[in-house]
Symmetry: C2
Subunit: 142 residues, 2 copies
């Protein structure tokens, strides 16, 4: 059971930017720091920008990425939901493609929905401020 | 967020066999019923046999698959754990391949461990008997 790669990247990018506080960072810097491909980094950064979590200033001089809101307002459960757009945890959850004749009386779906709700309930209330270490990232790429 | 394909298959195969009660079924029948490839079906059936959930009798005549224990003793959470052997829900959980310099102070891992525990806690106590509809499978492949 895994989160999508982009969900993982989104959380780690938010952590990186949060730790740099007001300092602007670049997609290249994040990509180098985590050894994530540059194109995946840019795609995830852009989505985080559209979702209002990051402020993206363009321009070779003075451009860069910063957090667009306080880490205490960025909820982990919400970010995971926004990136995990498909929560059909088993194949037969997809009703458009479900030919299983057991469906009528099957309770598997409701049990997994309950389990997923428990998963997200556990994440809800936890914010970026809770997961970000207080010290700045190591000097590796700075 | 998805379960592995084989976890999904394992649960559905157990459901199918449970609904047929004492009647022996074949891997071909299960494969046809769910439109799962025959080789995936055989692989999953064999693993369920090794785990003690299914009794597999070989032979063209008199051979077949039945449940090896009561559906009330087959716990959904346990089956999911046995098939989801890799529960590194985010990449950085893999300590053998983790070069993230944030790791020291990062609480992401512990939050996801808590969330996964909540997921399994929700499934624990639910058994195959709880998810299997009382009527037999539709006549599609019988």
């Amino acid at each position: 059971m895994h989160l999508k790669q982009h969900t993982d990247y989104a959380l780690r990018i938010l952590m990186y930017v949060a730790r740099k506080r007001e300092t602007q960072v670049s997609s290249r810097e994040i990509s180098d720091f985590y050894s994530i491909s540059y194109s995946h980094t840019v795609k995830t950064v852009n989505k985080l920008g559209k979702l209002g979590y990051l402020e993206l200033k363009r321009g070779r001089y003075g451009g860069g990425i910063t957090l667009a809101m306080e880490p205490t307002r960025i909820e982990i459960g919400t970010v995971v939901r926004q990136f995990e757009t498909n929560l059909d945890i088993v194949e037969c959850f997809d009703e458009t493609n479900n030919q299983c004749t057991l469906t009528g009386g099957c309770r598997l779906k409701s049990f997994f929905h309950e389990a997923l709700n428990a998963f997200f309930d556990s994440l809800d209330g936890k914010t970026l401020a809770d997961i970000v270490p207080s010290q700045k990232p190591a000097a590796k790429t700075i």
